[in-house]
């Protein structure tokens, strides 16, 4: 009689059986990131042709060789396509629960795509244009996507749309929760909600539900994944909360009536700032008060100081730096799923850097070109090296 071996996720005994190959793939892909030397060459370029030449020596050689499109958005499209290809390959190679994990990563982009399609449908845009602008990582069945803008923009149509289409998509449950909350508060039908509430607020609410859902999933997995992903998601949630608060000053979200009802609803219920911090954030009405609240949390007081003092760096830059530092740490351990999430996010940062450099070269802004956060750089401040 065999005793049932308790299979702990991430244990050294069984992780490699199921997930060894995908993890190996990801670690191999880690080498494809642009190195310090690459970044150095790119910042020295004088024109977009030079950039294409330099990229041809890096991992992007195949990608840029085919395209004649030499604009920054062209480069971005090509780079994103490359990442999507790699990701899809990874996805096809894995089994549960890694496949669910990777799907969770794509839900973020799905949410964005759906919002785009819905908003575009409201304004009556052409479906093909809308589809071309969707993020490729967040596509679901083409038939489903096509059918979204074809629904009539009236109350009946939206209710139908929701019941037939959205409910089947993986992000359907988030919509359900959001609509329930909104109708409790406002008592309006589906259509009113989508029309009246601004697209960004809907998206923020959906992202909040996604973060919470993802967090629950990781915690259920246990092991190293729960630890590392938990940390990453908490940081993500806090970043969102702080950004929402900071950027809501001066908009209608900052009015006292709206703060409790609407703004507070956008704060995710995971994260270091929850629950005490978010309760305090809900009452904040200007930057000073926000600063005071953040002083209580040492991790964020440093970032807040950069925002309030430095003119050179903005709070977004500070957040990006902190994110890159933590994501790089995910690669330090083994036997957990964090590497996959970190890979996607770091690739995103690299694409952002690439677009930034190309734009600076195009617009001849040589003094601003250094303002990006390189990935896996030897000169990163947390590696003890001085930034060149």
């Amino acid at each position: 009689m065999t005793t049932k071996v308790q299979m702990v996720h991430g244990g050294m005994t069984d992780f490699n059986i199921y997930h060894g190959y995908p993890e190996a793939l990801v670690r191999g892909m880690r080498c494809s990131f642009l190195s310090d030397a690459d970044y150095h060459h790119l910042t020295q370029c004088e024109s977009l042709d030079d950039i294409k030449l330099n990229l041809a020596e890096s991992d992007y050689s195949a990608a840029v060789a085919d395209s004649d499109n030499l604009t920054p958005s062209g480069f971005q499209g090509v780079a994103v396509q490359k990442m999507v290809t790699e990701f899809t390959y990874l996805r096809t190679q894995c089994v549960e629960p890694l496949s669910t994990f990777l799907d969770f990563i794509t839900y973020e982009y799905m949410i964005e795509n759906i919002m785009l399609l819905l908003k575009g449908a409201l304004s009556g845009r052409n479906i093909n244009e809308l589809l071309a602008q969707c993020h490729p990582l967040g596509m679901f069945k083409a038939s489903t996507m096509r059918s979204i803008p074809t629904f009539e923009p009236n109350a009946r149509g939206f209710a139908d749309l929701y019941q037939t289409v959205l409910v089947d998509t993986p992000v359907g449950p988030y919509f359900a929760m959001f609509l329930q909350e909104s109708s409790e508060k406002g008592g309006g039908a589906v259509r009113n909600v989508i029309e009246e509430v601004e697209i960004e607020i809907i998206k923020s609410s959906l992202i909040k539900y996604w973060i919470e859902d993802f967090y629950q999933f990781c915690m259920k997995l246990g092991g190293d994944t729960a630890e590392i992903m938990g940390e990453l998601l908490k940081v993500r949630a806090d970043t969102n909360a702080i950004n929402i608060t900071l950027n809501s000053f001066g908009t209608s979200l900052n009015e006292p009536a709206m703060r409790i009802s609407d703004r507070k609803r956008l704060y995710p219920s995971v994260g270091h700032l929850y629950p005490a911090g978010t309760a305090m954030l809900a009452d904040v009405s200007n930057e000073e008060e926000l600063g005071r609240v953040l002083e209580l949390f040492p991790a964020y007081s440093g970032i807040w100081n950069i925002h309030s003092t430095g003119n050179d760096k903005s709070i977004d830059d500070a957040f990006y730096e902190r994110d890159v530092q933590q994501l790089e740490l995910a690669f330090e351990g083994q036997m957990h799923f964090g590497v996959f999430y970190a890979y996607v996010k770091l690739k995103e940062q690299e694409i952002r850097n690439l677009v930034w450099i190309t734009e600076c070269v195009l617009q001849q802004q040589k003094d601003e070109i250094e303002k990006f956060v390189p990935v896996f750089s030897f000169h990163a401040p947390w590696r003890g090296g001085k930034k060149k």
């Binding site: 785009l116 908003k119 304004s123 697209i199 960004e200 970043t239 900071l246 950027n247 903005s314 977004d316």
Partner: protein, 250 residues
């Protein structure tokens, strides 16, 4: 030169015409000078605005790049949203020395910016900066457009005015002058003719009078001589002239 009959009335008419033409010429010259001054002002303003516009454009587009770095691609979101104009351009008319120039003025419609929560999750400040920079850029563009349309219209008006001034100066007034001179000459000649005629007539009359006088004196002489040559026996009857005595009626 041939059609105008050289009368005094015509001379008056043409004098009037010349005066009108000259005063018109003076006024038009004043207008052309005013337009030229305005033209140079506009040219200077346009050069200035174009200079600042180049730097405004670069800052505006660079701030867009920074915002995209911080907030991701938000261009689609702006394009897909409802677009109500927050800033509108009004067309007005400016009067410069009688020339109506089109001007554009900016006014806010007060419509609330639709995408206020665009950078809610990251990059919000940068997006606000983009909005500000592009508003500045837009104002510069509208100002430049207004200046350039005024400039073009002004240019046209100046050309027309200058053409009229030159036409008056080189064609109309000389023509009138020519006609006036002709009339003057003709009138003088007529006067001279009259004068000569009168002189001739006078001299002829004088001659005739002299002759008549000479005749008269001759007759007198003859009479006197006849009287002196009368017989001694006094012919009373010969002496008697019927007409001497009134009472005698024969």
């Amino acid at each position: 030169m041939s059609e105008v009959p050289p009368t005094r009335m015509n001379q008056q008419v043409y004098k009037g015409k010349k005066k009108a033409a000259e005063s018109g010429h003076k006024l038009l010259k004043k207008k052309a000078d005013a337009l030229k001054v305005k033209f140079r002002d506009y040219a200077k303003m346009i050069a200035e605005t174009k200079g600042t516009m180049a730097s405004d454009a670069t800052t505006a587009f660079f701030s867009l790049t920074q915002a995209e770095y911080a907030a991701g691609n938000f261009k689609q979101k702006v394009a897909e949203g409802t677009l109500t104009a927050r800033v509108r351009v009004g067309a007005g008319i400016d009067n410069v020395a009688g020339v109506k120039l089109p001007v554009f003025s900016v006014y806010e419609t007060g419509a609330v910016a639709d995408n206020q929560s665009l950078g809610l999750v990251g990059g919000g400040k940068k997006i606000v900066a983009v909005r500000d920079k592009f508003t500045v850029f837009l104002n510069q563009l509208i100002k430049l457009a207004s200046l350039q349309t005024s400039f073009v219209t002004l240019d046209e008006a100046m050309k027309v005015t200058n053409r009229r001034v030159n036409a008056l100066e080189n064609v109309t007034i000389p023509k009138i002058q020519v006609v006036l001179d002709y009339i003057e000459r003709e009138l003088d000649e007529l006067e001279r003719e009259d004068f000569t005629r009168l002189k001739l007539v006078q001299s002829k009359k004088e001659v005739a009078e002299k002759l008549a006088q000479a005749e008269a004196t001759k007759l007198r002489k003859v009479e006197l001589l006849a009287k002196a040559n009368m017989p001694n026996d006094e012919d009373i009857t010969a002496q008697f002239c019927a007409q001497d005595d009134e009472d005698v009626v024969f």
